[in-house]
């Protein structure tokens, strides 16, 4: 487990970091290192330069900006999991963060890092997607916003350009309720998701008025389950309505198998997790 040799820089400001990234080929952002360093140690990935963003001031806070919450690049999973504003407005993300890895991983790894890394079995990307988050990317050329629905491109691939740093994610304070459910590889909620579902929905006048459902673990990337939303919105959110809607979870998803699940099993699990998450969210929203 010895990585190839690499250079390490630790810029003191965001500008410095983006300019190093812009001027150095093969440079890679290092946040908590919980995904990047294992890949380097296995020599599956060998960047020439690591740009550690951990010493840049201002990236470690969760702020309430009136109409949205902003989670900075260096906010740990543990901080996301225990923040009261996130619990209130983005329960799915809080739950997903609380089920990410173990205590050490949650103290060291970052929510933005998990989202930037985009592992197919990671928890928080699907929560960000279901919550309709906006990703804020900074580079030497400026700052841009990327909608979560445009952010996840493929396995371990996002819309971030090589020179860009995900400085924060923004989650709208949109009312309604959200929830996350998963089956972990070691059973229960432990370890990466064999399959998971994050949902957000709003209920008005006894009917589901709007919703977003995102799956993790099943396909190549976290995916919005539009069919579920189509079937659910307008219903009373009863168990039978939820069960019927959940059956459509896999429309448009190509399910991949791995050591922990066959295609058939994961397809089934995705529906079960969708159903369970929807039931929780409906209960919380009404």
């Amino acid at each position: 487990m010895y990585p190839r040799s690499f250079e390490y820089v630790s810029p003191g400001s965001l500008d410095e970091a983006t300019s190093v990234l812009a001027s150095t080929e093969g440079a890679k952002v290092l946040a908590g290192g919980m995904s990047l360093l294992p890949l380097m140690k296995l020599r599956l990935f060998s960047p020439d330069v690591l740009v550690d963003i951990g010493r840049i001031p201002g990236l470690s806070s969760i702020s309430d900006r009136g109409d949205h919450l902003a989670i900075g690049a260096m906010v740990s999973h543990a901080a996301t999991a225990s923040d009261s504003a996130i619990a209130e407005h983005a329960a799915a993300l809080a739950t997903a963060a609380s089920w990410t890895g173990d205590v050490q991983v949650r103290n060291q790894g970052t929510t933005c890092g998990s989202i930037a890394h985009a592992d197919i079995a990671a928890d928080q990307p699907s929560a960000a997607l279901a919550l309709g988050a906006t990703m804020v990317a900074a580079s030497a050329g400026g700052v841009r916003e990327i909608a979560a629905s445009d952010f996840f491109v493929d396995t371990l691939t996002t819309a971030l350009e090589p020179g860009e740093i995900l400085t924060e994610i923004r989650i709208p304070k949109q009312g309604g309720a959200s929830a996350y459910e998963k089956l972990g590889r070691r059973g229960g909620h432990t370890d990466y998701a064999v399959a998971g579902a994050a949902v957000w929905l709003d209920v008005s006048d006894g009917a589901v008025s709007s919703a977003r459902v995102a799956l993790t673990g099943v396909g190549a990337k976290p995916t919005l389950a539009e069919g579920v939303v189509e079937a659910l919105v307008g219903t009373d959110g009863s168990d039978s309505a939820i069960a019927a809607a959940s059956e459509r979870a896999l429309e448009g998803v190509t399910v991949l198998d791995d050591l922990f699940g066959t295609v058939e099993y994961k397809a089934h699990l995705a529906k079960v997790m969708t159903r369970r998450a929807l039931q929780q969210a409906v209960a919380a929203a009404t």
Binding site: P3, P38, R185, R186
Partner: protein, 803 residues
Amino acid sequence: MGGGVGVSTTSVLGGVVKRREDPALIRGTGLYVDDLQLPGMLHVAFVRSPYAHARVVSVDASDAEAMDGVRAVYTAADVAHLGDLVTQVAVGKLRPLLAGDKVNHLGEAVAMVVADSRYGARDAADAVDVEYDPLDPVIDLKEAASDAALVHEDMESNVLLAWEGGPWGDEEAIAATQQTIADAKGRDDTVSVSIEAVNQRLLPMPMEPRSVVADWNVGYGRFTVHSSTQIAHALAGGIAQTFGLSLTDVRCIAPEVGGGFGCKLNVYNDEILVCFASQQLGRPVKFTETRRDAAGSTIHGRGWVATATITGTGDGQILGYELDGIADMGAYSQNFTVAIPFLGLFVGAGQYSFPTHWKVACVHTHTMTTDAYRGAGRPEAAYYLERAIDAYAREIGVDPAEVRRKNFIPADQFPGAATHIGFPMDTGDYETNLDALLETAGYEDLKAERDRLRAEGRLVGLGLATYVEVCGFGPSALVDLGFSWAAYKIPSGFSGSGLVRVQADGTASVIIGTGPTGQGHQTTWAQIVSNQLGIPVENIRVSHGDTAESPLGIGTFGSRSAAVDGSATYEAANKVRAKAADLAAHLLEASADDIVFADGGAHVAGSPDQQVSWSDIATLAYQPHRLPEGMEGGLEAHAVFSPGNATWPFGSHLALVEVDGDTGDVKLLRYIAMDDCGNVINPMIVDGQIHGGLAQGIGQAMFEDGDYEADGNLLKWSFVEYPLPTSADLPSFELHRTVTPTDINPLGVKGIGEAGTIGSAQTVVNAVVDALSPLGVTHVDMPLRPKRVWAAIQAAKTNGSVS
């Protein structure tokens, strides 16, 4: 402390003494091999085969050799003169130190790179260009046993031997047993129930991967070798044997060892190879496994497939048990390899008295060697037996506890009871133990609760299993069966030793032949000596693991260290005590027979006010001119203990589980263990051993899967792919015990290192099968990952049954 010898029931033996080694381990001040930094030390990385089976066409190390800081790259030809890896049970193909013209498993070492840094060594290893011509591998056990393709083209068969009994080895008697079982099957009042199950391969994965530093001193012509090993003496002997040296020329030191579980009970090719490199280069050389090395190139455990059949009457009287299995040896035999299923044979019939025919064939495949892994053969044996008994109990509709009770070897047959192969056992009382478990757990209430929840549609199950273990090896006479360790220059067999020295200030130094890999020797041994001498535990230092100072002990494995080396130390302490009584008698002008040891010293019986301290006694011992005529100076003794038998711990376990029918997720709700390991020296340490043992057995049942892919790939390189159970995955264990002391050793202790593992996998699987039984599921293979449990549920739902 009383005056008599024998097992004391006072505070020190049987008392909770906190592990004295923990402060150093917790604070990070314990020294592990990889902590060692010697001046000029070089580092090793291996070039390993990416194929399970291939011809090595060429090895081109020129680029690697040209790299900065690279000192040497060695291939098979460089070490051919050293022969194959020294191996105790040399049955089957032995491992070449480096692969020559063929590689026979993924991860086999093809070349060794030695460089100034470990990073440089790794870079250079990547730069060695090996051309392979891939061949089809033999991976599947049944295919291997069929000899459809040979693993080694120069061998006639992949099957090395079959362990068959009982009774063991007596062909006529085996045939008679088979006939008895066949007759029982022929009766129309009997049923036969079979299950075919996989006991999957496991990767030992100790927290500390293996690590070795060899230092050849050219002036003395001697090696000093630090290794993370369970068998320092055997390693010293193996190195001496390989290099044509004597035991005095090789000093092995096992410092702190961070877990072994049997995987450090081997002499490894890397241990020999770093010695070679050190000798060649005149520098200390270190090799520390990466986790990836540990997963693929340290021995594996288990890896059986077998069919177990119970034949019995409709009311639970079992008339025959048959096991027909194949055990995976991997591509090469190492220390014990083919002997592991042999340990299973001993306990093939568990706690029961029914006729048993047990047969397991040992086969080579293109995979890493298998060898001793916690339990070693006994968990596999217990798994099949206890799964089959449960299947039979379910078939006839009799309570599984009742079936077991009906078929136990009765307590009144001890002493004198023997296993199904005719091997004598020490002590046992199985019914009392099972009853204690059922009573403590509230079995009847649990059953009622399960049935109530089941009626609500919940998948709740109870699993029961019993086990008997053979351990505490001994008997010394195993030498005569060929287990002599002679390949490692240890012709002595399975005895143990201890050395007790009272120092001039009245404190004691205890030096033992075995060392811990986490078992707490420094605490337990101090308790044994303290109990015999009355010197407080904190005044006793326990040393181990340095072959230059330790008396010969073959190692900590097979739950043997306390029973064998502990007993030797007990006897050494008694010798010291006898001499101390003479010394005290001289000081107190009394007869040695009247000396009583108490309160950290000694006095004459009836005159406790005239006390001499251990320091007074020791001072006299080290001032020989003051001694009476004919008495030697010094106050120390060495004893060798040669057990007349192994020991036979036993127990029964109960698990309560709930399965989520929608996902296949298994929740282990309660785990209750009633173990009997004879006398207990330190309950806290014994409980700790059971905790770890249970976690490992439950790990096999629920999480761990070390099986190779059909193409010979091993997709388990880290804890991501090979999940180990953590405390967060397990319930709080409910531990209880019965105490049936052994008469094999003076301490009455049987050994507890492996019991938890031997008893637990089948307990959990029985519980899960019980939970799923309303759906018609009769079997699910381990590990019970959700996907597998769910698939079993689906199959049962669609077929109405599943096998």
